[in-house]
């Protein structure tokens, strides 16, 4: 039996004869490609590898935490596992995820351009990323690093005896890939928009990618110099961060979080952009409060730079600085609130299709709200005095990063999959995976909030027995979550060959990227460059509802 959705998806029988995937094949053509779409695919494979390694590390940690004693791996190994997990997930999976894969693939098409502004740099950024990743993998294979992803001094500079320098160098190098990507996107969005595509006609995904790029460009260099100084300090004992030589380890934390707090918005803004696309398309509605949602992205990008000290409330930072950072952290939550409310309002009087991408989008809203609200717990000074560096923090950021961003990434991948490959994924399997992920996710991370408030510190290899029950629940959840991730991997590969041919616009979406065949030709649009005359998301729920009544 066909589902209603499948009837509704507009497919066309045949794939275009020539498209970007088959113009020139062979390894060499791919490795030297300057086509933004192909570079997006290169990135997709690369980050997938890192995601798998980091996930295996997560699985091993969860297995270790099944029992209170440290019995599955040694404490040394455990410490290396969460470092590998954190470093790879943050810098080699989540930060590049939506920007480099979906951003690279879709931005030029969504603004009606033939490519990004600097295609050579775009390819270069991928090579730099791979080089950085290779260094990091080298460090992992040769024994790993045990500093945690935060590299706090003086542990990292003096006491850790693992491959800190190599791993930091890997992150340093990958940072330049981020910078180049951000710079490229900014120049592209500023200079390459199609005729008539004014700023306020841009899809919200573009706005959010622009905001992300601002952060990439202005925050990443500070991480680079911080890690460089950290390495130099480790080699020669400079003393900028070493209390024995007159330095102050808290300065390292300031510099690290000046990057890493904005970086968490690198890890959520693109997801918000994707969700704006999905919510509108699958409720067939113009977004509620377009201007506010767009402005909120920019506000997050700017305000996000002012709050880093909330990671240091109990670090011996001055009490007064703590207060400044606390109030600013609350302020930065307001644009997020605006977005959540606007998405919700968009559903009003829509014609809602529960296609897989929409399920992910709705999951995003729910989990992001919970993750964000618990961020407010942490921003409240007195409460953070208790829950700092406990599993409460772990749960907070997994809710946003896994429940939010990874969900959005999956949603976006499903949404643009037909554009990328020309074929549809199997809808029922998609729904099943989305549901599994959602349930598994909550089972994994909700217990961690309770664990955190109970006082279980993070980065603990063994723990007092009274924490066991919630840890068991969490591990059980992780195995369900793991299945939720494996499913798409399988059916996406399956669909490459057996998926239904999608046609240019299976979702009847309004973006420019849907006005060209799937997969698109090499230069995105056949000859004609699009001209834009109206606002984005000119959907009509009313027409859609009527149309559907006829088709069932």
């Amino acid at each position: 039996m066909k589902t209603a959705i499948e009837i509704d998806i507009q497919t066309e029988g045949e794939m275009p004869r020539e498209h970007y995937l088959n113009v020139k094949t062979g390894v060499k053509a791919w490795l030297l490609t300057m086509d933004h779409k192909r570079i997006g695919i290169l990135y997709l494979w690369t980050i997938l590898v890192f995601f798998l390694i980091a996930s295996v590390a997560a699985a091993m940690m969860r297995i270790e935490l099944l029992t209170p004693q440290g019995d599955f791996v040694t404490n040394e190994t455990y410490n290396k596992l969460f470092t590998i997990h954190g470093v790879l997930m943050v810098w080699f999976f989540l930060i590049p995820s939506i920007p480099t894969v979906l951003g690279n693939f879709a931005i030029p098409m969504m603004i009606g351009a033939r490519d990004v502004a600097f295609p050579k740099l775009n390819l270069l950024s991928w090579y730099i990323f791979v080089a950085g990743g290779a260094l990091t993998l080298w460090a992992i294979i040769h024994g790993g690093v045990d500093t945690g992803w935060t590299f706090y001094t003086p542990y990292s500079t003096t006491y850790a005896n693992s491959h800190v320098i190599t791993m930091a160098a890997g992150v340093f190098v990958a940072g330049f890939s981020s910078i180049i990507t951000g710079m490229n996107f900014m120049a592209t969005i500023h200079k390459m928009r199609a005729a008539g595509l004014t700023w306020f006609r841009l899809p919200l995904f573009i706005w959010s990618m622009y905001a992300t790029s601002v952060i990439l460009v202005l925050a990443t260099p500070v991480l680079a110099i911080t890690l460089a100084v950290m390495c130099v300090e480790r080699i020669w004992g400079v003393g900028i961060f070493d209390p024995k030589l007159g330095g102050d380890p808290i300065l390292f934390q300031h510099m690290f979080w000046f990057y890493s707090h904005p970086a968490v918005y690198i890890m959520i803004l693109p997801g918000m952009g994707v969700v704006s696309e999905l919510i509108t398309c699958f409720s067939r509605k113009q977004i509620f409060g377009y201007g506010f949602v767009a402005a909120a992205s920019m506000a997050i990008a700017v305000l996000g730079f002012l709050v880093w000290g909330h990671h240091m409330f109990v670090s011996s930072q001055s009490v007064y600085a703590g207060m400044v950072f606390s109030i600013l952290s609350f302020l930065v939550a307001i644009p997020s609130a605006i977005k959540v409310f606007n998405w919700t309002a968009t559903l009003h009087k829509g014609s809602i299709h529960f296609a897989t991408p929409m399920l992910y989008a709705l999951g995003f809203i729910g989990l992001f709200t919970i993750g964000g609200m618990t961020g407010l717990f942490l921003a409240t000074l007195a409460v953070d005095v208790h829950v700092h560096d406990s599993y409460f923090v772990i749960a907070h950021f997994h809710y946003i990063m896994v429940g939010g961003m990874v969900m959005a990434f999956m949603g976006g991948l499903h949404y643009w999959w037909p554009k990328i490959t020309g074929r549809l994924y199997p809808e029922m399997a998609g729904k099943l995976a989305a549901l599994t992920t959602f349930l598994g996710f909550n089972l994994t991370f909700f217990p961690q909030f309770i664990l955190g408030y109970l006082g279980m510190p993070r980065r603990y290899h063994a723990y007092p027995p009274e924490f066991q029950m919630f840890n068991v629940l969490s591990t059980a959840g992780a195995s369900i979550l793991g299945i939720g991730y494996l499913l798409p991997l399988i059916y996406f590969l399956w669909s490459l060959k057996f998926g239904r041919v999608a046609g240019p616009n299976p979702w009847r979406a309004t973006g420019l990227e849907w006005q060209t065949p799937s997969p698109p030709p090499k230069h995105n649009f056949e000859d004609k460059t699009p001209i834009v005359t109206e606002k984005p998301y000119s959907y009509s729920a009313k027409e859609d509802a009527d149309l559907n009544l006829a088709s069932i």
Binding site: H190, L218, V222, I250, L251, H254, M255, F258, F305, L306, W308, G309, Q317, S318, V319, Y320, A321, V324, F325
Partner: protein
Amino acid sequence: MEKVVDPKIYFRTAIALLLLLAATWMIAYINLGLFNLIAALAIAITKAIVIALFFMHIKGSSRLLHLAAIAGVMWLLILISLTLSDFLTRGWTQ
């Protein structure tokens, strides 16, 4: 052919820069207390602005480039001022 700048402007810019250099050098030999630092920074900022305006042609460029030129500096100020908000208020308790 592109629009080009009158050479005189470049020469004047260079002379202004060298004069500023001389000024900052000389002021350093007078003890003005805290004002030494302020003067040195003020002159450095002036020099940077002069270079950006005339050598780097920010003068006459689009608003967008003005913004790009200012952004880096603004963000550096955020970094420094909020970090100092910690270091300078540490002794306030007890």
